[in-house]
Structure formats: C-alpha cells, structure tokens
C-alpha cells in the first residue's frame, strides 16, 4: 500500500513536471506570435510596449480596420490563393501523369525520362532564376497569374512521390485491366488515382503550403501593388508605413498566416508524411 502510494505520487509529480516543461517551451516558441498579437492590439502607437499596458482596452477591431485602411490586402489574398491553387492543381496533374508512365509503361528510352525528372531535383531555383526572370519578362508575364503559376506546375518531388506510391499498388491489377481492354487513361482515372488519394493529399498540402509561402519569385515578377502576393505584400506594407504604424502591419501579418495555420491543423498528417517522404527512406 505504501509502495503504490509513493509510486502514484512519483507519477503525478513526473506528469506535472512534464506539463510545466511543455508549457514553458510552448510559450517561448510562441512568444514572437504573442508579441505580434500584442503589437496589433495596442492601437496606432509609435512606442508600443511588449505586453499591452491596459489589458482591458485591447483594440480587436484592428483586424477589420486593416482591410478598410489597406483594401489591397484582399487582392493580395486572392492572388495568393489563385497562385497556390493553380500550382497545386498543375503539380497534381503533371506529376500523376509522369509518375504513371514511370511506374507502369515499358518503352525504349524510359531511363532518359527518369533522369530528366531526377535532374530537375538537382537544379536549384537559384541557378535558373535569372534566365527565368528574363524569359518571363520577355513574354510579358510580369504582373500576371501565368507568371506566378506556370513555372512551378511541374515538380520532380511530386513525380517521385507519386511514383513511389504507385509502385506499392499491385501490378497485377494493371495487367488484368489491360487484358480486359481497359484503356490506359481510364485505368489511371478510375482505379489508380482514387487508390492514391493519400499520396495526392500529401502532395497537394505540401505544394499549396510551399506556394503560399513563396517570396523570392513573386517579389521579382510582380511590381504593381495589386499584383503582389500576401507574402510580398506584408513586407512592402512595412515600407509604406515607414515602421510608424506597427498595429496594422502586425494585424496583416497575422491574417495572412491563418490559411497555412489552418492547413497545418487540418492537414497535419498529410503535411508530415510529405515532409518525411525523403527523410526516413534510408
């Protein structure tokens, strides 16, 4: 009796200790976000304090006022959504088709296609940036959705992710369908893609997040204020205001985080499997 009592007490104190540690660490990690929330709620002051002085008088309306003061934010959000959806859709389609060929087709020169996809992973964004910028400018694609979307609608990562998944599905199914006279496209559309929903969801969440958070490319190919994306928008916002009005800028920054934070909470499993795709395969 005595032994189990002290065991229980030890267990409780262990749990309490873990909770205290978890909470302290969480607060430290979230402190920059709490700081930005604090600045957002303090009104248009030039000398905000880290924690609001008057906690009963917080300016929650700033999240609405920011849209009134800077209506272009709505346009930035629309731009980011269109670009992120466009790229995601394009990557899903082009990767599935390419991966289908790599996983199931048999033809001369297949190795070459494999290496074209693999090679695309070896060329970093930075190495193609300047000619890409010159090309897109020459085509008149600056300040346009095609300029933000088209360069990214093929993904070596997406191709290999889908190929890996297709290879885990039984090959006999494909052979049987072909014998029964099923066309290739019908098999892809009616059998393979429905079976591959987990991989497609992973690729979609991963691509959407990556595109939404893009900064460098949108910075280069958009120059008109109404063509900026949210990520570039919140930074030029800073320059407009000259750093004097912290509250609206912080409110805007917090607002544009909402879609990706929602995605993280709702699509965490997909996101994690996407991120770990390369990590745990030795």
């Amino acid at each position: 009796m005595k032994v189990s009592g002290s065991l229980l007490r030890g267990f409780i104190s262990y749990q309490t200790g873990v909770y205290i540690l978890l909470i302290v660490v969480s607060v430290i990690l979230l402190s920059p976000l709490l700081f930005s929330l604090s600045l957002a709620l303090q009104g248009p002051t030039v000398a905000p304090s880290i924690i609001p002085r008057d906690l009963t008088n917080l300016d929650w309306r700033v999240f609405i006022r920011v849209f009134e003061e800077q209506p272009v934010i709505i346009r930035w959000i629309v731009n980011s959504f269109v670009a992120a959806f466009g790229v995601t859709l394009g990557v899903l389609v082009s990767s599935s088709l390419f991966a289908y060929v790599l996983a199931y087709f048999d033809f001369p020169g297949k190795t070459l296609l494999f290496f074209i996809a693999l090679g695309s992973l070896m060329v970093p964004f930075e190495a193609t940036l300047i000619p890409n910028y010159l090309l897109v400018t020459q085509w008149g694609w600056t300040n346009s959705y095609q300029g933000l979307i088209v360069p990214f609608i093929a993904s070596g990562f997406g191709i290999f992710l889908m190929r890996q998944y297709f290879l885990t599905l039984p090959r006999e199914l494909y052979d049987a369908a072909m014998v029964d006279g099923c066309s290739r496209f019908r098999y892809l559309w009616l059998v393979l893609l429905p079976l591959s929903r987990p991989a497609l969801a992973t690729l979609a969440v991963y691509t959407f997040l990556g595109t939404w958070n893009q900064f460098y490319w949108p910075l280069l190919v958009t120059s008109a204020t109404e063509w900026r994306t949210t990520q570039v928008g919140i930074t030029i916002f800073r320059n407009f205001e000259g750093g004097a009005i912290f509250n609206t800028q912080m409110a805007a920054t917090l607002i544009v985080m909402v879609p990706t934070l929602l995605l993280l909470v709702l699509g965490q499993r997909q996101l994690v499997s996407g991120l770990t795709a390369g990590a745990l395969k030795g």
Partner: protein
C-alpha cells in the same frame, strides 16, 4: 531493329517515289505494331506537361545561365562579349585584383550555416524528446512545436524585424547587456548575422522537430523496454539507443538544413537589406537586381549550384550508406 532499318533504307534509295512512300508507311506500321513503341508515343504524351515545363523553366534557363555566366551582358540581359571564366575567377578572388568581397560573402554564408543548423537540430531533438512523453493532450503541444512550418519566412521576417526594431524595446536589454553602439542588433556588424540566425532557427524548428519526432517514433519501443530491464536510465537510453538509431535522421537534417541555410534569401532581404557584408545568395540578388549584371550574377548562381550539387550528392551518398547502427 537496326538491320531492319538499314535494309529498308537501302531499298528506298533506289525505289520509285510511290514505292518509297509505301515502304515508309510499312515501316511506320511495323514500328507501331510493336507494343513498346506504341507505349513510347503514349508515354511522351502523358509526360508532355511536365516535360514542357522542365524544358522551359528548368533545363533551358540552367544552360542559359551557364552561357550568360561566360559573357558580359547588356541591360536587357543579352550577351555582348564572351569573356570565358573571368567572372568565376573574380568571384573566387582568383583574378589577381585582390577584391575578395564575393569570396567573403561565401564565407559569410557558411558562417550563417554554422550559426543556424547545429542549434536548430539540437533544439529539435530536445523538443522531440519532450514530445514523446506519454501525457494527455500531448498532440496539442506537438502541433505548437510544429507550428513554425506554417509561418512563412516573410511573416517571420516581418515579426522579427519589429522584435529587433529599437522602438518596440524588445531587445533593448540585450543591446545594453552587450554594450553595442547602435540600438538595433541588426545595425551592428557583430550581431546582425547572429540576429538573422536566431530568426531562422525559430522559423526552422517546426520542420526539424517533425522530422526528428518521426525518426524517434520509428525506433522500436521494445529496445527501450529491454534496456530498462537491463537497468539503463533515461540518459543512457537516449545516448545508446535514441542517438545512434536517430543518426540517419540527424544527418538528413544536417544536409537539408545546410542546403536550406545556404539558400536563405527572404530573411536577409527583410532584416539586413543594406548590410555591407551579406550572404552569397543575397549578394547574387544585388548583382542581378540592382546592378543588372546578369552575366556576373549568373556566374554566381552557377557557383551556388555547384556548392548545392556537392551537398545533394553527399546527401544521397550518406542516405544510401545507412549511417552506422551501433
């Protein structure tokens, strides 16, 4: 196949036009009759969306960048005069002029890697260890630890630029503690790079945490149970089971983190855009965007490519070798 082709080719050379058309039609028909060739046509069709994009936005610009890097270019980015490898020699300070600012920015890039990558991995492993605790509601804490994945570098940069902004007084204590001449950490040459590194660490914790946690969860729990039976403590279990079995994951994080830190752009654009000493990628942006020196900037981007390629190959090599399990 080749014999067949050549025999048809020799026969068509002497045949009358109509017969020639007939033989070439036969040839096509015969090729089409082979399932593998028919598959090739379908394959090219299915792959064409990605192939077209790869051609225009990956391979063509890549070779174009190599081409431009060997030329002096005009304001429109067209090559004007061939200069061979001069730009590469200049960037690597091998041209004998003694200008080393580009080489220094490469060194700055690697200093930045050292400031970011080891700390972020150590913090992530610590957080992952904490997140394996079996308590109720742990999932909420895991989501909090992961949250920085969803916060873009641009958002993080804007927030941290205000944290470092003297008027918010968030870092005044640190500036006073260090006795710095300027009230902003970002304005002092000695603290600017570490300040950007701290922001980058914060931003990278989510990704590193999630990978470290997945690696830890992949370790079979019976190893810990048998270690506990053998009388191993918490630290010993961590040191002799977790760390060795986690080493492939840690190595992956090390290489991926190094590649990512070398590519860092957004945080430098937001936090220290006018700093005299900056990282190589940002130096490239300045040469390209502000100075319109497309040739020079292309040479710099090819140098980035080579550095990253070496790291990528190391990554594949290490992952294939399966880091020691002891």
């Amino acid at each position: 196949m080749e014999n067949e082709l050549s025999s048809v080719a020799t026969s068509t050379a002497t045949a009358p036009p109509l017969a020639r058309i007939q033989t070439s039609l036969q040839l096509l028909e015969r090729a089409w009759a082979r399932p593998r060739n028919r598959e090739l046509v379908w394959a090219l069709l299915y792959c064409s969306p990605a192939l077209i994009i790869f051609f225009f936005f990956t391979y063509y610009p890549f070779f174009r960048a190599i081409f431009l890097s060997m030329h002096i270019t005009n304001a429109a980015g067209e090559p004007v005069r061939f200069i061979g490898l001069d730009y590469y020699l200049r960037v690597l300070a091998l041209d004998g002029t003694g200008r080393t600012n580009y080489l220094e920015s490469i060194a700055t890039s690697f200093r930045f890697v050292l400031m970011v990558v080891p700390p972020v991995i150590i913090l992530a492993v610590g957080l992952a260890t904490l997140a394996t605790a079996r308590v109720r509601g742990i999932q909420i804490f895991r989501t909090i630890f992961t949250s920085s994945i969803a916060i873009s570098l641009a958002s993080a940069g804007v927030i941290w630029s205000l944290i470092y902004n003297p008027s918010t007084k968030a870092t005044t204590w640190l500036v006073d503690l260090l006795g710095l001449p300027s009230p902003s950490l970002l304005a002092n040459p000695s603290t600017a790079l570490p300040a950007v590194a701290v922001m980058t660490i914060w931003s990278g914790i989510g990704f590193n945490f999630i990978i470290a946690l997945a690696g830890m969860q992949a370790i079979p729990s019976d190893l810990y149970e048998s270690a506990a039976i053998d009388g191993a403590g918490r630290w010993q279990a961590f040191r002799f089971i977790t760390l060795p079995l986690l080493s492939p994951t840690l190595l992956f994080l090390l290489v991926i983190g190094t590649i990512g830190a070398l590519q860092a752009f957004t945080q430098f654009h937001l936090l220290m855009p006018n700093a005299p000493n900056t990282v190589f990628v940002y130096e490239t942006y300045r040469a390209f965007w502000y100075d319109n020196r497309y040739g020079l900037a292309s040479a710099m981007s090819i140098i980035i490519f080579i550095i990253l390629l070496v790291l990528t190959l190391v990554q594949y090599r290490l992952l294939n070798q399966r880091v020691h399990y002891q």
